[in-house]
Amino acid sequence: MKKLLYPLVICTVLMTAQAQDYEKRPWMPLENRIGLALGIGTVTYLDKNTSPLIYRSKPANVRLFYNLESNTFLFSLDIDFRIGSNQPKYHPNRTLYFREEDYTGKTEDKKFPAGGSFMAGRISLGTYYKIPSTQESTFKVAVGGRISNELFYPQGWTVAGMFNALSFSPEGLVQHRVNEHHSITASARIPVAAWLTRPPYDNTASAPDKTMVGGFFSNARWVSVDQFLAPAIGLRYDYQFNQRWGAGINYEAGWHSITSPQPFRSLNQTLLANVYHNF
């Protein structure tokens, strides 16, 4: 992870040197922004359809993001990927032991770690309307919605924690611009409808004429907040070095509560450092 953060640190140092060139710019101008964020996080979950054990992963996070901002609207496209090891929180070092023997009497003892890996991906597209305010105001508010597809794909000896949700979430953003360099943005969203796929009650995906992926997605169905509750909040600090470059830190937290086929709950926290380029 440290290796991944080095390029960000170097970029930050280089761009700080250019900060003297910064020119005053209009508040929320028309601009494109593209950036890369790297970070760490924790994911904790309990999937009662498969296991009574609480799982915890500390995945590395990578995000590519693109924002387009006009005087009236904000658009954002985020692509997130998380990967890390995955273990039950209170049974972190389980090992399974096997003895194999063949007809000649040759035996071989094998052992395998019972833990697995955690992968998650999310692609989301948000559109927001900027509520008009005066040029002098240091606070700006935008409201809109986000369409996201989020996949939890833990791998191991069980399918605990697996789901895919294509969801629509109303979302609000509040930005406090301290001065031309510094700003803080808070956001909150909650999905109100989702095309949710979970392993079925029997925890299998096999079905006639279907691949495992096809079998898994054949369980998809529309749900609302009564079956898929997933509020998320974010807090972001941005430092604008100059008109072109900036960097920031994001803290994000989210909670999932899925009721079917049996309760699944997860808690996610992520801390990301990002650099971006405006054009």
Binding site: P52, T95, Y97, D102, T158, A160, P208, D209, S266
Partner: protein, 355 residues
């Protein structure tokens, strides 16, 4: 400049730290808690998971509540892992199910059953070592054996007889690509031997695809339904599995399928599909008798176990769970044969194919 940066970071921290603290302190409320890890809780969780998910109580005429009463009283919170292991394995032996496994995460306790199990008339046998088949011995008969995928091999026997060995399931795409190639090469053989004796399972839909390469028509070969609720009769609607012609031209010449006591799971569902085809004859031993899907579950102590969640039947409604699919011609290869480099089952297949 420095002051502003400091102030902003301070504001961020003012929000983030409480956020982290609240999240951490509320984890129990937001996620839930694990059952306390005691032998009694482990036994109850284990028993209850079968109660909620096992798909063969009716097929096997199992009185699961009666077994609870019988075994629960053997469990107490002072017992050791080894003692709990004995009770749990004694309980699942009653299911006579090759797809029910217990994987303790304890180096002193073996995986159970760790082989092919039969429990009939209160007699337990577990075949831990496969002594009725060896790929190395097969190579004495098929010296040109080629490996096409991880699980598929093929070659030519004497007298223009083809040999296809399937030991598991690859992806559908890889299977399709492999069988297109292999069967185009073997299309001019006079007969084919399909060896499933080392097929320990995989994906049923891939077995369905494989069988299609030998079928000229669409035929029902299997039905399946799976538990979808806590009641012993809570099942999904029945899925029908059809064998459908696959590949450029189905192989319709005589086919001899070799099975053993270790042919199981998707190897058995493939056997059910091939059994529906008129040109196919089965030679060897009865299969393991574990057809249903068997996902893994976990216990509060971290041990893992698998549960047969389905009720899989042949097209005529017969369940082979716990019994296995019998061959048309019974022949058994034993350890002495293998040590002598002989394979009587394969030899019988060759003899039948020559006729």
């Amino acid at each position: 400049m420095k002051t502003i940066l400091t102030n902003c970071l301070r504001k961020l921290i003012m929000f983030a730290i409480p956020g982290l603290f609240i999240m951490a302190s509320c984890e129990e409320e937001l996620i839930g808690t694990e059952p306390v890890n005691t032998p009694v809780n482990n036994f109850d969780y284990f028993w209850k998971t079968f109660d909620n998910h096992y798909g063969l109580f009716e097929v096997k005429q199992i009185d699961w509540n009666g077994l609870y009463n019988q075994y629960r009283k053997q469990v107490n919170d002072q017992m050791t892992d080894a003692e709990l292991y004995v009770v749990l394995t004694n309980l699942i032996v009653q299911l006579n199910d090759n797809h029910v496994n217990l994987y303790p995460t304890n180096s002193e306790l073996p995986v159970f059953p760790g082989g092919v199990i039969r429990y009939e008339n209160e007699q337990l046998t577990i075949l831990k070592v496969q002594k009725d088949y060896s790929l190395n011995v097969v190579k004495n008969y098929v010296p040109n054996l080629k490996q096409q995928t991880e699980f598929i091999r093929y070659g030519w026997l004497s007298d223009n007889i083809g040999y296809l060995n399937i030991q598991g399931t690859d992806s559908q795409k890889d299977t399709q690509r492999a069988l297109d190639k292999i069967l185009s090469e073997l299309q001019n053989t006079q007969a084919l031997i399909i060896d499933l004796r080392g097929h320990y399972g995989g994906m049923d839909a891939v077995s369905q695809l494989v069988a299609g390469y030998f079928s000229q028509e669409t035929k029902l070969y299997m039905t399946s339904r799976k538990r979808n609720g806590p009641g012993h009769n809570d099942f999904t609607s029945v899925n029908e599995w059809y064998v459908r012609p696959a590949g450029a031209a189905p192989y319709t010449k005589p086919v001899y399928v070799l099975t053993s006591r270790f042919t199981q799971s998707a190897g058995e569902t493939l056997s059910l599909a091939l059994k529906e085809l008129s040109q196919v004859t089965f030679i060897g031993d009865t299969t393991a008798g574990g057809l249903s899907d068997n996902p893994n579950f976990e216990m509060p102590n971290g041990w893992i176990f698998s549960v047969s969640v389905g009720d899989y039947r042949a097209a005529d409604g017969t369940s082979y769970e716990g019994k296995g699919i019998p061959p048309d011609q019974f022949v058994r290869t034993d350890k002495e044969d293998l040590l002598a480099g002989k394979d009587p089952v394969l030899e019988q297949g060759i003899a039948r194919a020559r006729q």
